[in-house]
Symmetry: C2
Subunit: 195 residues, 2 copies
DNA sequence: GTCTATAACGTGATAGAC
DNA sequence: GTCTATCACGTTATAGAC
């Protein structure tokens, strides 16, 4: 979110510990996504990566920082906005469903951990930078801000249903029926006039 | 959520500890709603209530259980479904905005703490029992389940925007503009046919 | 001088003895 | 009801290995 992930502090040298950091990142990402922030301990991550627990903190500043650098970086919806604006509703819903069915659990993990101040900030920034702001800028007509923000609320609502409170009906319902209905609802939220 | 809040186990005796339990509940509710589950310690609650920390655990089984009995019980949207179905969209949005502007932070606190299994179950049950199921039963026409669940997703989305990721635009925008747009969107999600 | 391992510290929730 | 012990956790201090 703030700094590039894998750049060593001093680019001149190869940074011998890069491999260890990568292993820790990998273990952390898997654990955090599967078990959540709380249920995952530093010692668990360290054991998976085959390193000493203290190393995890030494390389990443804290457990929270490690979470943000791994899971937080996975929460991206940049490509939803690519493409024609008049089909963004269906495209957004399809992206959410595809992501969920391919096992992307980052969003749920972030929301469930958003009691932590820095993780909350990460969540808020992701939505603002990647969704609200570019969408608002792209919208023609009056009330662009209102429409963009309501679109986001609606968009996030489906993600929360699937990966935060685990709505089993929506998790297993045919994708096309959800895309048709919810996609259209999203699309109408973006329309300047409601007929 | 499960049991009435202030009924003593044996109605014959006055149950001297009832007052203490009530004080603990009051302190817990305030702290949890204001600072969240994690940032609130058992010692903080006990200090506010003027009791010994160990007593909190003795009366309520755990911090998580205490949270569910206080904040969890505040998450109720039963009255949203009361009234004519053809105006439920606007009514739901108005209820959300009113609740938020009156300082009801229960939903945000629950979502942010839903990493804990029991709190997650509380959240899921609240939505299912109070929204999805009664709504689905009340809906005429085909696809009742799909429409009810998508309505819930949309409904929850606005709550999440206001009290989880703190969308400052929606928090301060004129209520009527949100009610008009989002209320209509909710209403259309319930319609059997999308025109 | 940079990376890693060992051993502790502080804190928080919780359980059991009194 | 209260006191105290226990256990797990994130984190840090310190010192050894390259």
């Amino acid at each position: 979110m703030t700094a590039p992930p894998t750049v060593p502090p001093e680019p001149g040298r190869p940074d011998r510990s890069a491999a260890v950091k990568a292993r820790i990142r990998g273990s952390a990402r898997e654990r955090f996504n599967r078990d959540g922030f709380e249920a995952t301990g530093i010692r668990d991550i360290a054991a998976d990566a085959g390193v000493n627990p203290a190393l995890v903190i030494r390389h990443f500043r804290s457990k929270e920082h490690l979470f943000i650098e791994t899971v937080g970086a996975d929460a991206s919806w940049g490509d939803v906005l690519d493409g024609p604006l008049d089909q963004i509703g269906a495209r957004a819903v399809r992206a959410i469903l595809d992501g969920h069915r391919h096992g992307h659990r980052a969003f749920g993990a972030i929301v469930r951990a958003s009691g932590r101040p820095d993780i909350h900030a990460t969540l808020k920034n992701s939505i603002t930078r990647q969704l609200s702001e570019p969408l608002e800028a792209a919208l023609p007509g009056p009330d662009a801000a209102l429409r963009a923000h309501l679109f986001c609320a609606q968009f996030i609502g489906l993600m929360v249903a699937l990966s935060v409170y685990d709505d089993e009906y929506l998790q297993t319902a045919p994708a096309e029926s959800i895309i048709a209905r919810y996609g259209e609802a999203l699309q109408r939220t973006l329309a300047p006039q409601h007929p």
